[in-house]
């Protein structure tokens, strides 16, 4: 028991050590999207990038899709030249895992307009970025610095109306584009735990 505890502790500290930090360069990663294309963060150097930790079976995520709030945000930001990357870190054994075919269909069904849906079923990117929950949002500015890490908005509830909440990701992007400082750069993410492999 003690050994297990010690290991758990050690593992957690390891995870903590990998987590990204606001104000520091966002670490580069490479993943495969559902079309089999290799996607690297560095491919988007010079652009604003939003990363969304995603699992639509999670009621917190789904709330943002079924209310249309997330697709709207994706469209609005795309119009402003912002890159949107979905990272799905659900492990293949979990019932919420999506094969590339299922994911392609889900993109249509949920009206997702992200630039890429990265299949991170190994949890590599999720762990690198210290993704804890779905949804969890990251905003990276044009020079590659992580400027926001945390909750999508200020209402930790799976059934609220996202359009009436304060959306931190939208606010961060808008402020960046307007050349204003970001008021909230870090929050405690809420939602379901990311379904990493055990």
């Amino acid at each position: 028991m003690k050994i297990t505890l010690a290991l758990l502790t050690a593992l957690t500290f390891v995870t903590a050590a990998f987590a990204v930090e606001v104000g520091k360069p966002a670490p580069d990663f490479s993943g495969t999207d559902i079309n089999g294309k290799t996607v690297k963060l560095s491919d988007y150097a010079g652009k604003l990038v939003v990363i969304e930790s995603y699992n639509s079976d999670c009621p917190f995520c789904n709330n943002h899709y079924k209310t249309g709030a997330m697709p709207d945000l994706q469209k609005d930001l795309a119009a402003k030249g912002v890159v949107w990357l979905i990272v799905n870190s659900v492990n293949p054994k979990n019932s919420s895992h999506r094969t590339p075919e299922q994911a392609k269909q889900e993109m249509i069904d949920k009206k997702i307009t992200a630039d890429a849906w990265i299949d991170d079923s190994s949890g590599k990117i999720g762990h690198l970025y210290g993704m804890l929950t779905t949804p969890q949002m990251f905003v990276i500015n044009k020079d590659g610095t992580l400027v926001y890490d945390g909750a999508i908005d200020d209402k930790a509830d799976p059934s609220h109306d996202p359009k009436t909440a304060r959306n931190y990701a939208r606010e961060a992007v808008d402020n960046l584009l307007a050349g204003k400082p970001i008021e909230v750069s870090q929050t405690k993410p809420y939602g379901c735990s990311v379904k990493y492999a055990d």
């Binding site: 028991m1 003690k2 505890l5 290991l7 758990l8 502790t9 593992l11 957690t12 500290f13 390891v14 995870t15 903590a16 050590a17 990998f18 930090e21 606001v22 079976d57 999670c58 009621p59 917190f60 789904n62 709330n63 079924k66 979990n94 019932s95 919420s96 762990h127 210290g130 804890l132 929950t133 945390g150 930790a156 509830d157 799976p158 059934s159 909230v184 870090q186 929050t187 405690k188 993410p189 809420y190 939602g191 379901c192 735990s193 990311v194 379904k195 990493y196 055990d198």
Partner: protein, 739 residues
């Protein structure tokens, strides 16, 4: 079949909650779910401690939640994910519900996203206060309970629950009273058992900061026993106390553990609240605690080093450690660091050899006093550093560039003095006879030698010494002082013994003119020391170190003018002295202040540290993450903790690790080799070294291939050991790690 059903269940459940969120009234089943499908995996029921209650009383209500196997719901602080259960009451007038009393939850994996909650069953308790003017008769008590339930997927759900309460002349307990009482016992009690404090272990390095929670030492005397201890934090939006708990107390009576606080916004919290969880055997107890967080450890408290992984469970005895300290100090005498001072000592003995025994003995004792005083000063520094909440390290003063510059200047002056450029005498007189030479090594000289020996000894560690100091750094102040004094005694012992037994000195030649030549010859080891110190300064200042060289030349020139025209001169001594002062002031202000910027180091990344190990081995900079990553990939790891000022590191360990057979072995094993640069004594590395019971560099760790195995701590190289001899020890450890 089940796996096919699960997504369906989830979708139905979601639709049920989302589409008809508020429209759904009493039923737990969605109207379209099909007879065999349960909408959610938790059933809620409202129970009361009394069937009949009299007006003015307070009774207990319980929301009894039963979860299907492996499903769980959440505590008031759900942790890194999840959502706390909510109860919305619909009560008749005159009945008021209080706050939910939450039974002690469990921690749920995965470790990366730890959550707090309940499996199988929980009864959330709520006090219901009845107004004294309630009229007799039945009352309907209703509540809507909403929760998030998770297994490998999460489902939000809600259910309306209700029950009846009779208002009557007497309160009568219900059949559920026993259940409520049982769950009341699981609610964390107000803490009056443990006297706890919380303090920051060190300043924040980024948005996380380690926090220590512990009980006072007085409490440790009481026989508190526990198998494990934990802290479940309350909720807070501005910061999060992370779930991982690192127990750092070696003795079971102590409560001492480390939590990491991650800050989202605002200042670092001044106080924390949560539940202290004590596990003893199969019993778990929770205590509500609210603690102010102080900036440093309470007086008299020290942060004990983490139990070293390889020596777990073993607390070394103090007498043994004192012996180690003494032997370590003794061995320091023949480590390369102290050699130049030994030369001075030999000279001292020669000149005193024919003096009366009492005088020889006194000088020996004064030298010992010099050593002991400097060790007391070192102990005071260590205690101060620890009081500030940092880990201490042997030789850490070499991380300060100001110290290095001062020492370089001092040793340069000692060398010039030996060359006869100037004299050090109380009156500034000239010495010209052998007899007077003897008097130079009087009491102040012996004391100074003691100080110099200690200062120069600190960048060397010796066998035994490292263990004793590593032990000392984790102890309370009196023990630290005691151990340091014993190291000093060990360092001074040979001279004390020799000076107390003049018979042992008979073999020394008679003083004479040869001594002047010998003295000059002894200046060269001092010059070598200057070169070494200069190279240490180079890693602090980069190319700016040129100006330190300029400063040393100016100092040397000033020393010559002082010796030649002030001490030995006949005329115009005043002018000469003025020139000396002008040289010193302008050398200091121009070279040190304006050009060298001697109080500022260059950025770490620009420094050419020992990172550039050669030998064809791909050295990478050390970090805990780098070790974890390599171990996760199933590779053995070798870590060399080193510093440019560490003589043992550069003279023995580095060549041993660059040895061809070691390099070949590392390559063959596909080992990851990491170098931890301690030149500037960064606190992460001090912490890491103290974890392994070490006192400073060198320290070599070999992590075996098996990621669960503890690292092998290589022994300290012994003095006069050749690199090839140490290479054999490294090879042996590598062999063991491959198994």
């Amino acid at each position: 079949m089940r796996t096919v059903l699960k997504p369906l269940i989830v979708i139905f459940a979601c639709l049920a909650t989302f589409v008809s969120h508020d429209a759904r009234a009493q039923t737990a089943l969605p109207s379209f779910g099909g007879a065999s499908l349960t909408a959610h995996h938790t059933q809620a029921k409202l129970i009361l401690s009394a069937d009949t209650a009299k007006p003015g009383d307070t009774i207990w209500a319980g929301v009894d939640m039963k979860m299907d196997a492996s499903w769980h719901t959440y505590w008031k602080n759900p942790g890194a994910a999840g959502l706390a259960t909510k109860i919305q009451w619909q009560l008749p007038p005159g009945v008021t519900a209080g706050e939910i009393q939450w039974p002690l939850p469990e921690k749920f994996p995965p470790v990366e996203v730890t959550t707090y909650g309940y499996e199988k069953e929980v009864v959330l308790l709520v006090p219901l206060t009845l107004a004294s003017n309630l009229s007799a008769g039945p009352l309907d008590l209703k509540a809507k309970v909403s929760w998030l339930e998770c297994k490998d997927v999460c489902v939000p759900a809600n259910q309306s629950v209700e029950t009846k309460l009779n208002i009557g002349p007497e309160t009568k307990t219900s059949a559920n009273a026993a259940t409520i009482e049982l769950w009341q016992k699981k609610v964390p009690q107000t803490n009056d058992v443990y006297s706890l404090s919380a303090w920051w272990e060190k300043p924040a390095s980024d948005d996380t900061r380690p926090l220590i929670i512990g009980n006072e030492q007085m409490m440790a005397a009481k026989n508190i026993k526990y198998d494990s201890v934990d802290f479940f934090p309350g909720t807070n939006d501005a910061f999060e106390i992370q779930a991982a708990t690192e127990t750092i107390s070696a003795q079971s009576a102590y409560i001492r553990f480390r939590k990491v606080v991650k800050k989202f916004s605002g200042d670092w919290p001044k106080g924390i609240s949560g539940v202290l969880v004590i596990q003893n055997g199969n019993s778990r107890y929770g205590y509500e605690v609210k603690l102010p967080v102080s900036d440093q450890a309470p007086a008299g408290e020290t942060i004990p080093a983490q139990t070293p992984p390889v020596r777990a469970g073993e607390t070394p005895a103090l007498p043994l450690m004192l012996l180690y300290a003494f032997i370590g100090g003794l061995i320091l005498n023949i480590m390369p660091c102290v050699l130049p001072v030994i030369a001075l000592k030999i000279l001292g003995f020669v000149s005193e050899a024919r003096s009366e025994p009492r005088r020889v003995r006194n000088l020996g004792l004064i030298y010992a006093l010099g050593v002991l005083v400097s060790f007391l000063a070192l102990a005071a520094i260590v205690i101060g550093v620890k009081a500030a909440g940092h880990h201490a390290g042997w030789g850490m003063q070499f991380g300060s560039p100001v110290f290095v510059v001062c020492l370089t200047t001092l040793v340069t002056l000692v060398a010039l003095n030996l060359f006869g450029v100037f004299e050090v005498t109380p009156g500034g007189r000239v010495l010209n006879s052998a007899g007077e030479l003897a008097s130079r090594h009087g009491a102040p000289g012996a004391f100074f030698n003691g100080l110099l020996a200690t200062t120069l000894a600190t960048p060397c560690t010796a066998p035994f010494l490292s263990g004793a100091l590593g032990f000392a750094f984790a102890q309370k102040s009196p023990t630290i002082i005691l151990i340091f004094l014993f190291v000093g005694l060990g360092l001074a012992a040979p001279y004390v013994v020799l000076s107390c037994n003049p018979a042992l000195l008979k073999f020394l030649p008679k003083p004479g003119a040869w001594m002047e030549k010998f003295k000059v010859a002894m200046g060269f080891p001092m010059l070598a020391t200057v070169v070494w110190l200069f190279s240490v300064a180079a890693s602090d200042y980069g190319s700016r170190v040129f100006w330190l060289g300029v400063f040393l030349v100016v100092i040397a020139f000033a020393a010559w003018i002082f010796g030649e025209f002030v001490q030995r001169g006949r005329k115009r001594k005043g002018i000469a002295l003025a020139i000396v002062l002008i040289l010193l002031t302008s050398g200091y202000t121009y070279a040190l202040e304006n050009r060298l910027h001697w109080r500022e180091m260059i950025a770490e990344t620009d420094a050419a540290g020992p990172i550039n190990q050669s030998g064809g081995t791909g050295w990478q900079p050390w970090s805990p993450a780098a070790v974890a990553q390599a171990r996760a990939a199933g590779k053995p790891v070798l870590v060399d903790f080193t510093a440019s000022w560490c003589v043992t590191c550069n003279a023995i360990v580095k060549p041993a690790l660059e040895n061809n057979s070691v390099a070949a072995k590392l390559k063959e094993m596909d080992a990851v080799v990491l170098i931890a640069d301690y030149t500037r004594t960064p606190s992460e590395i001090t912490d890491e070294i103290s974890k392994y019971g070490g006192a400073g560099v060198p320290l070599v760790l070999v992590y075996p291939k098996n990621p669960d195995a503890a690292p092998i701590v290589l022994p300290q190289p012994s003095p006069l050991q050749l690199p090839s001899g140490y290479a054999k020890i490294v090879l042996e450890a590598l062999d063991r790690s491959a198994r």
